[in-house]
């Protein structure tokens, strides 16, 4: 969805930045948002500075929105991991390139014992 949405906005993102934060995602304020997301997940001591950086770069409302999105996906990743869901045909096809680019794989259901 990062690739699709950024293409719609006329500036295709480099999706490898989500696996390699050193890469330039070409998303405005990308490094600042990634640093905030990482600090939320890890609870690191960098969180306060990361939050301040987002406030200063994009504003308080965007900071809250970023907090909302990051914490939303703390939920979704756990559902995916704990229920053994498969992608489904549509998502499987649509995300194959992106998953290969990011090196994200998972054994299929019959083998994930």
């Amino acid at each position: 969805m990062l690739r699709e949405s950024s293409a719609l906005e006329g500036e295709p993102a480099d999706i490898t930045a989500i696996a390699n934060p050193g890469h330039d995602s070409r998303v405005p304020h990308g490094p600042t948002l990634i640093a905030f997301a990482e600090a939320i997940v890890t609870g690191s001591q960098a969180l306060e500075a990361a939050r301040t950086a987002v406030v200063e770069a994009i504003g308080p409302a965007a900071t809250v929105d970023a907090a909302g999105v990051a914490s939303n996906f703390e939920r979704m990743v756990r559902i995916a991991g704990s229920t053994g869901i498969e992608l489904g045909d549509r998502l499987e096809r649509g995300s194959a390139d992106a998953r290969a680019e990011l090196g994200l794989t998972r054994p299929s259901a019959p083998t994930r014992h």
Binding site: H29, I40, L47, S71, F73, R75, G84, E86, L104, P110
Partner: protein, 246 residues
């Protein structure tokens, strides 16, 4: 009422309202657990961060080779404690064999899904608190009553879709017709449908934190102050940090 008034940035009211609705639901009996048990599941999920056994398993090559017991803080059955801690701390490395072992220990599939639903709703609220520098909310006092034992009549297990039974995508003529009003949804939403209220909670939280479920697949959809690519960059980074293939 839950509040974000102490946050260093103004938090729009939708967050507190949505989180309060989950808090209210958390205190009530669910489909497979009493209110007291549901609140206990939430206590265990929070306690997992301080559990030595969880810490040892996370650092092991495989979590399934580490012997020992969780540092439980409630009198929930061991199987329920295991699920609450594992989903919280190491969900990306769970397996179908591990899930089936929990069923063999006495959990029903519906009870399992309800634990997962409780833990994941809680973690999203607790992480939001962390993100906006507000202390975790005190868990609610449980309300009395027995579990409803509700189970969707058409829920079925297809192992090529998930480990857990799910409501079929075509559910228009069932009491679960409201779960995906657009008529279709992703497996990550359907995965919770054995306990329909878990999908309703998921939808309620998602609509505030991210997007209404029915708009997620529209790449032009966004809300709030971030562009959709900015939202997806954050979502993608969080997913990668958890080794989430989805």
């Amino acid at each position: 009422m839950l509040s974000y008034a102490s946050a260093p940035v103004p938090v729009r009211s939708g967050f507190a309202e949505s989180h309060q609705r989950f808090w209210d639901r958390l205190a009530r009996p669910g489909a497979g657990w009493t209110g007291a048990e549901r609140v206990a599941i939430a206590h265990e999920a929070r306690a997992a961060a301080r559990c030595d056994h969880c810490r040892q398993r996370r650092s092991a090559l495989s979590p399934h080779i580490v012997a020992g017991r969780h540092t439980a803080v409630t009198d929930l059955p061991d199987a329920a404690v295991e699920v609450a801690h594992a989903v919280m701390q190491d969900a990306g490395r769970l397996t179908r064999r591990w899930y089936e072992a929990r069923l063999a220990e006495g959990l029903s599939d519906g009870q399992y899904v309800e634990i997962v639903g409780t833990v994941v709703a809680l973690v999203s609220i607790d992480r939001f608190c962390r993100a906006v520098a507000v202390p975790e909310h005190a868990l609610p006092a449980p309300l009395p009553g027995a579990p409803t034992a509700y189970r969707p009549a058409r829920a079925v297990l297809h192992l090529d879709e998930a480990w857990v039974p799910m409501v079929p995508m075509d559910n228009a003529d069932t009491p679960e017709a409201d779960l995906w009003p657009a008529g279709k949804t992703g497996n990550v939403i359907r995965a919770m449908s054995l306990v329909p209220d878990e999908v309703r909670t998921l939808a309620d939280l998602s609509a505030v934190h991210y997007l209404p479920n029915e708009r997620v697949r529209d790449a032009s959809a966004c809300q709030g102050s971030l562009s959709r690519p900015q939202m997806e960059l954050i979502a993608g980074r969080v997913s990668v940090l958890h080794d989430c293939f989805y």
